[in-house]
Amino acid sequence: MSATEIRPTTAGVLDTKAAPKPRNMGQIIRWLLLFAGGIVMVMPIAYMISTSLKWPWEVYNVNLIPEEPTVENYLYVLEDGRFYWWFLNSIIIATATTISALFFDSLVGYTLCKFKFPGRTLVFIAILSTLMIPTEMLVIPWYLMSQSFGWLDSYWGIMFPGLMTAFGVFLMKQFFESVPDDFLEAARIDGLNEFQIWWTVAMPLVRPALAALAIFVFLGNWTAFLWPLIVTNSTDMYTLPVGLAGFGDEADVAWELIMTGAAISTIPTLVVFLVFQRFIIRGVVMAGLKG
């Protein structure tokens, strides 16, 4: 900032009076260009959905709106039965890990924020330092561990690495800072035990942070690929991304069916986004800037 050039001219002051008209034009052009860019951005998603609604004879036409929309592809894919399981597996796994991560991350974040005890800094730094360890480094030992404990090809095997997240601990700790100690002290005097204080007094005050974390953890587990690919063997245990990867690779599968499978694994998160849009964007900013 030290090198800021200051050029005192009167031109700028005079400009402000003449400005409104060109600025409005500028606004419209800017909007149109950004809109065009936005359309390009959603094109792949639009084509995916459009193709999933096309009959085979129409698939390779570039038109976006199907001439004769059909849900035939969805019926075919669901009748096949595998997508039904993969969808169910993904829902169960993403939901269970989200609940676990929300519970433990906020409990740990709260403890590290509001309790004074020996070892507090050590625990915090230890947990934070795990952010530096990439999942890819852990998959080999996790695989060996799963093998010796018989966790391969099970829900638990897919879920256990994600049951707690260091990022969540950090995020929740930041947000518990804003909960006044007086509230907790008052609850203590009322005779609540520490668990009740956390659950009934502190937790409701950090709901926005919990929601942001929930979205991140759910999306992360819904789209997770590497670990589920490694730990599952049987088709029935696949999650949607793993199932879709194998499904697309089957030689005789047509593109409209692959697009249908892709749509099935994308539409749920898109719907969640469209419903909670403002909320999610606020959450992304919160998590991105605090985390």
Partner: protein
């Protein structure tokens, strides 16, 4: 005899803290720290998962150093980073900059840009893979054919495949970066811009002297976040080049795919573990550079 109610308030707090932390501390020890140490340990061993483990010292690292595939993969991994990060940074900044100046229809457009962030990488890899097919299947080549331009080999070409695989990865991350950039732009005090306007400074000077310097923490965050993402690229490569993972001729193979192949196709656990240690080291260096840059800021 130990009785809870005889403890002081401070002692009770300590008891509660460790009750709350017991399960998480166990989790982080067993699921994070132990495996980290284990990965480093295995990297010094020769082990094919069935036979016995034998201690081989630095053999795996020497093998890696002399492996031409590793160097190819190493270059690829950094190509993903060196193309992906600047391109996505530039696009997302330009969009965020103009979106920030937009006074109407703002949240609708922001939604369009953010939607790809909510998609699953595997699903979108397949969509893009379809786009890249030759005539009469692929959308891009069909479009090129319709305006009379020769076909382009995307995924089958050793030179085009890497950018073609990278494109959807950049595309999916833009929305996130735009949102973060916009939050950064919002946090710049309006009074600076007003002062600049009164002084009649050009938009370019405002951008280079006010906006960009004040955005520095945001830029550092995005650069590091996306760099780590590109260094760990896997889902897109695996799904767009599956008939020949990382192909053609290893031209798209990133380090994580090499780790996956070595560990779960060749079952050469020691060698794969050594590769993960290299990945860890690279990521650590990138993160340390970030810390250093942020510190220089203050």
């Amino acid at each position: 005899m130990f009785r809870y109610r005889d403890l002081t308030i401070r002692q009770k707090q300590i008891v509660w803290a460790w009750i709350f932390l017991a399960v998480p501390v166990l989790f982080y020890s067993v699921i994070r720290f132990y495996p980290t140490g284990n990965a480093v340990l295995i990297s010094f061993q020769e082990w094919n998962l069935l036979g016995t483990r034998t201690w081989t010292g630095l053999d795996n690292y020497v093998k890696l150093w002399n492996d031409p595939v590793f160097w190819k993969v190493f270059v690829n991994t950094f190509l993903y980073l060196l193309i992906g990060t600047p391109v996505s940074l530039l696009i997302s900044f330009v969009i965020a900059y103009h979106l920030d100046k937009l006074r109407f229809g703002h949240s609708f457009i922001r939604m369009l840009y953010f939607l790809p962030f909510m998609t699953s990488a595997v699903a979108m890899a397949w969509v893009w893979r379809w786009f890249y097919q030759g005539v009469p299947i692929g959308l891009f080549n069909n479009f090129l054919a319709s305006i009379g331009i020769a076909q382009v080999e995307f995924l089958n070409s050793t030179t085009n495949a890497l950018p073609a695989v990278l494109a959807p990865a950049i595309w999916a991350g833009l929305g996130f970066q735009i949102i973060i950039f916009m939050a950064g732009l919002r946090s710049i005090p309006q009074s600076y811009y007003e002062a600049a306007r009164i002084d009649g400074v050009s938009w370019w000077t405002v951008l280079s002297e006010i906006t960009l310097p004040l955005l520095r923490p945001t830029i550092v965050f995005i650069v590091v976040f996306s760099s780590i993402g590109f260094l760990r690229i896997f889902d897109h490569v695996f799904n767009m080049t599956t008939n020949n993972p990382g192909g053609p001729l290893n031209s798209t193979k990133p380090l994580v795919l090499m780790i996956y192949d070595t560990a779960f196709n060749s079952f050469d656990m020691g060698y794969a573990a050594a590769q993960t240690v290299v990945l860890f080291t690279i990521l650590l260096i990138v993160s340390l550079i970030q810390l250093w840059l942020l510190r220089a800021d203050r």
